[in-house]
């Protein structure tokens, strides 16, 4: 028994705090960019023209069919240096999480949209609305309501998956836990500490999603 765990945590508190902020930041960026991009990919995949929809199908297949960890490595050591001339853990992290999340969100949205009865679109179109108006005013509002629970699950997964970014030295929670563990050659303290923080983050997320669901149900 060398150093007291409490002292170690106290020493690392600023790093854990900034790590938490980075984890939140990566997650939020992934949620926001992933949702926007996911919606576009979803519409792309639903295009009637097979040739036009093919790239979107490939996108979803690739990002859902390969490990996120491999995607992070590809983007960090391949894509980002190729574009920016040098690697950058933060940019790579945001890009990788957003691209990966978009593929899953696209599928969640597609399922939600297709679960809305065809009669809704027909009624809207029969009133003279074009495809876009029918989607925007009639189908999407109902679909959003339905996809909220699975979206919440995706967001929670995303928070946890952001820990993989430690491997490319993005300064998030797991990265600092590894640093802490390496400096003092300890295991339990750092990883239990960040487990606790991750739990708070995921529970907060599921609380927020639940509340949003209830608010939408009682409108």
């Amino acid at each position: 028994m060398g150093v007291n765990p409490i002292d170690i945590i106290r020493e690392y508190l600023p790093f854990l705090a900034s790590g938490t902020l980075f984890t939140i930041g990566f997650s939020l960026a992934g949620i926001v960019f992933g949702t926007i991009l996911g919606l576009l990919v979803c519409f792309g995949k639903m295009l009637n023209n097979k040739v036009l929809s093919a790239p979107f199908v490939c996108y979803i297949t690739f990002f859902r069919g390969t490990p996120l960890f491999v995607q992070i490595l590809l983007i960090h050591f391949g894509v980002v240096p190729a574009i920016f001339g040098q690697s950058n853990g933060i940019i790579s992290g945001i890009v990788a999480l957003s691209l990966n999340e978009a593929a899953y969100i696209a599928e969640v949205f597609r399922a939600g949209i297709q679960s809305i009865d065809e009669g809704q679109t027909e009624a809207a179109r029969s009133l003279g609305m074009n495809r876009l108006q029918a989607m925007r005013y009639v189908v999407l509002p109902q679909a959003v309501h339905r996809v909220l629970p699975p979206m919440g699950n995706e967001f929670i997964s995303l928070i946890k998956d952001s820990s993989l970014l430690a491997a490319i030295a993005a300064p998030e929670l797991t990265y600092w836990a590894q640093a802490m563990g390496a400096q003092y050659a300890i295991t339990w303290t750092p990883y239990l500490a960040i487990s606790f923080i991750y739990l708070i983050l995921t529970l907060t997320m599921s609380f927020l999603v639940n509340r949003l669901e209830r608010r939408m149900a009682t409108k």
């Binding site: 009865d117 009669g119 809704q120 027909e122 009624a123 809207a124 179109r125 029969s126 009133l127 003279g128 609305m129 074009n130 108006q133 005013y137 009639v138 509002p141 109902q142 309501h145």
Partner: protein
């Protein structure tokens, strides 16, 4: 001529549902289409506002061929109201918003004006007190009357009814038919697919009997019901009358 259907054919894959249909509907005419299930009645109706693609032939709405790819179908549909068997009200909106949506978004009618028109229509179908209700809280008959009001809000020149009373409990059929009768009396051009023979006889200017994708026989209602010419018409009527 409001509607003119010319040599219309419609296939779903190998299955030819409509085989060379010809039909004309005059202004203010009420045409009732009857026939057994699977005879193509609903498909014919859905082809008239292009909810189904047309395999071959033509459908003219006030002279415009909607089978022509350059026709502006969104514009044409504004003149062709449609009422569905399953109502298809928008469940996430109040009754009032259901009725106001298309006029305000498609025709860009000012909100106040659209609301006044919606309230007037709700009064007409006897549901003014339901303006702020959500569709889920309404009975089937009320839903269908709202659906009719919603279609009328676009001020269409003609109305298509696709088995409007088939999904209703028997005691609610009357209230919907009453609204449709009033509409006919007001001079609306209507094509009605229905199993309500009483309505066909009372309101129809012309009754069309379809079977197997063909128009087998058409005539004024009294003539068709009392003296059908074709064997298939006779067989069908003997089962439903």
């Amino acid at each position: 001529m409001m509607i003119k259907v010319e040599n219309l054919k419609k296939s779903f894959g190998e299955n030819e549902v409509l085989k060379k249909i010809n039909l004309e509907v005059e202004k203010q005419e009420v045409v009732v289409v009857i026939g057994p299930s699977g005879s193509g009645k609903s498909t014919l109706l859905r082809c008239i506002n292009l909810l189904e693609t047309i395999t071959s032939g033509h459908v003219f709405i006030e002279g415009t061929d909607i089978a022509d790819k350059t026709a502006n179908i969104n514009k044409i549909r504004q003149d062709v109201g449609m009422v569905f068997q399953q109502f298809n009200l928008f469940p996430h909106m109040t009754v009032l918003d259901n009725i106001m949506l298309a006029p305000t978004k498609v025709k860009k009618v000012p909100k106040e004006q659209a609301k006044a028109k919606a309230m007037e229509l709700l009064g007409k179908v006897g549901l003014a007190e339901k303006a702020d209700a959500y569709p889920d809280s309404l009975s089937g008959g009320q839903k269908q009357r709202i659906a009719i009001a919603r279609a009328l809000a676009m001020e269409p020149k003609m109305m298509l009814f696709d088995e409007p009373t088939s999904a209703l409990d028997p005691e609610m059929v009357g209230e919907v038919l009453d609204v449709m009768k009033q509409l006919a009396k007001d001079g609306m051009t209507m094509v009605v697919v229905t199993h309500e023979m009483g309505f066909a006889r009372e309101v129809g200017d012309r009754v069309i009997f379809m079977d197997g994708g063909y128009i087998v026989e058409e005539n004024e209602p009294n003539q068709l019901f009392a003296h059908p010419n074709e064997e298939r018409t006779k067989a069908f009527l003997s089962k439903v009358l």
